[in-house]
């Protein structure tokens, strides 16, 4: 049989979100992969320039519905850095609590999706049922299940009461018991071993070269975790370990995430035991002075990077987001080579892709067109403002 090009997506049973993989096949074997993104590009970065900082809190949260809190944490950190605000200790602890609860729910979610991709739907039902425990805790404290609207510039909007504290600790006890069980399943269950062992190999050297982040890199034995490398929020106070494995395959990524759940539970217990008293919010001015700031956090999927430039008004001048999935996509293309077609869904799922938060504009050019002009960021920005002004849009 000759070489076949197989397009998967944008709407396909194996994909949860619209994206396109064009896979070149020799029989069952994958030779080459071409990934096309951009189907969920909405233009959030541009939209942010036309909204105030307070409005942007809610827009940033909706970059992604799964790791929404990591985005909003980055945004508030950026604004607070330019303002020179020191947020209260208690607010920092509550923020860290939310970051870790989000990691718990995201990892449970991922474990379920991975189970679903290898035809192990029982695991999907089990983990998603346990994920509801985390969702209930998030809802109890913040009032929302998905986009929590917890952060304000200068602190957090809701406090953690004594009753909440008890319920969170109870929830952690339950989840720890369940995770013990998932650990057993991940390491011993034949269904998982058969589909995950030695599949989607990413060698440490390649992972470094392609700049993989988060659990994908940690499963290749690379110690990279922003919580340790460049601590933010209240992570400097908290003792925890960075989990790595050196199996380099999908199974390693499962194990890393399951063990990270234990670390998260440990962190949450520490936070609940050492919650300082005091205010939860300080007053922040509406206008932000001129300045630049970058911020990165360890989202459940890896390093989430934000850049902000302000110009002294109520609205940001430029905002830039680099999400972990974008950083991990080149690694996916590498992992998919020389595997079998049936393993494609689980390998793609193994990086925990979140296309919703990643999509950038792509310019596709046919071969014979003239090469475009290369312009720098500042000129591009001015060109954009002029383009919009000509069409009667306000910046």
């Amino acid at each position: 049989m000759g070489i076949v090009k197989l397009p998967i997506g944008p709407q396909h049973p194996a994909l949860k979100e619209p994206e396109n993989f064009t896979i070149t096949l020799d029989g069952e074997r994958v030779i080459d992969v071409d990934i096309r993104i951009g189907y969920t590009h909405r233009g959030i970065e541009k939209l942010m320039e036309s909204r105030t900082y307070t409005q942007n809190l809610y827009l940033v949260e909706r970059i992604c519905g799964i790791c929404s809190y990591a985005h909003v944490e980055n945004f508030t950190q950026n604004v607070e850095e330019i303002l020179g605000l020191q947020i209260p200790k208690r607010a920092e602890y509550i923020r860290t609590l939310f970051l870790e609860l989000e990691r718990l729910h995201s990892h449970f979610l991922w474990l379920g999706v991975a189970g679903h991709e290898i035809g192990f739907d029982t695991l999907f039902m089990y983990t998603w049922q346990d994920r509801e425990v985390v969702q209930d805790l998030l809802e109890m404290i913040s009032g929302n299940r998905v986009n929590y609207a917890m952060n304000a510039i200068g602190g957090v909007r809701r406090d953690v009461s004594e009753e909440h504290r008890k319920k969170v600790l109870e929830g952690m006890d339950y989840l720890e018991k369940r995770t013990e069980y998932y650990k057993e399943v991940a390491i011993n269950e034949k269904t998982i071993l058969a589909r995950a062992e030695n599949v989607g190999i990413l060698k440490p050297k390649v992972a470094l070269k392609l700049a993989a982040v988060g659990p994908t890199a940690r499963a290749s034995g690379i110690m990279v975790d922003i919580r340790k490398d460049d601590p933010y929020a209240s992570y400097p106070d908290i003792p925890f370990d960075v989990i790595t494995t050196n199996t380099n395959d999908v199974l390693g990524r499962v194990v890393v995430r399951v063990l990270e759940v234990f670390e998260s539970i440990k962190i949450i217990r520490y936070l609940m035991g050492h919650l300082p008293d005091g205010e939860i919010i300080t007053k922040a001015p509406r206008k932000v002075p001129e300045g630049e700031s970058i911020s990165h956090t360890e989202a459940p999927r890896g390093e989430d990077f934000h850049y902000l430039r302000s110009n002294g008004t109520e609205k940001p001048e430029r905002y830039k987001v680099r999400t972990p999935t974008l950083a991990n996509l080149p690694a996916v293309a590498e992992m998919l080579k020389e595997t079998y077609l049936a393993d494609v869904p689980i390998i793609v799922a193994a990086i925990d892709p979140c296309m919703g938060c990643m999509d950038r504009v792509l310019l596709l050019k046919k071969g014979k067109e003239k090469p475009g002009e290369l312009i720098d960021g500042e000129r591009l920005r001015r060109y954009g403002i002029k383009w919009y002004a000509e069409r009667g849009w306000k910046a």
Partner: protein, 145 residues
């Protein structure tokens, strides 16, 4: 009689196709959360399918990006008659928070006809299940909802 049988079958087992048209994933995970044991939408016969050819109900999320517009139309056309469209979430209903962004059409109903809206950002899983049941009830009463 045959018509009655088809209608009965459709109400007892509506197969749904989930399509993400540029949403933030918040609604998508809540749709899946409606299918898990806590709510178990499957007891109403709701089954998540992968192909538009098998689906009775198209469950859409997201504000319809420019890229997804043509694809949404195509998937809608591929579904067999009679078909129903349910929009989950605020941005699918009206563009929501993304209104005014250059990459966004603003609402599923700008592209294809819609039968039911489930508001919320994102709606709770029980609201999604409730919306589906209300759609079924209105089909049972007769005609299109």
């Amino acid at each position: 009689m045959f018509k009655g049988l088809v209608k009965w079958a459709r109400i007892k087992s509506p197969w749904i196709l989930h399509m993400n048209c540029g949403s933030c994933n918040g609604c998508d995970i809540e749709i899946l959360a409606a299918l898990i044991p806590r709510l178990d939408a499957e007891r109403f016969g709701v089954l998540l399918k992968g192909s538009p050819r098998h689906a009775d109900v198209l469950v859409c999320t997201g504000p319809v990006t420019k890229q997804m517009k043509e694809r949404l139309k195509r998937v809608y056309d591929q579904m067999p008659e009679p078909k129903f469209v349910v929009v989950v979430g605020q941005c699918g209903s009206s563009g929501g928070i993304y209104q005014g962004a250059y990459g966004v059409e603003g609402g599923i109903d700008k592209v294809i006809p819609v039968n039911a809206y489930i508001p919320g950002c994102p709606p709770r899983p029980d609201a999604i299940a409730d919306g589906l049941i209300k759609l079924l009830a209105s089909i049972a009463k007769g005609g299109n909802p």
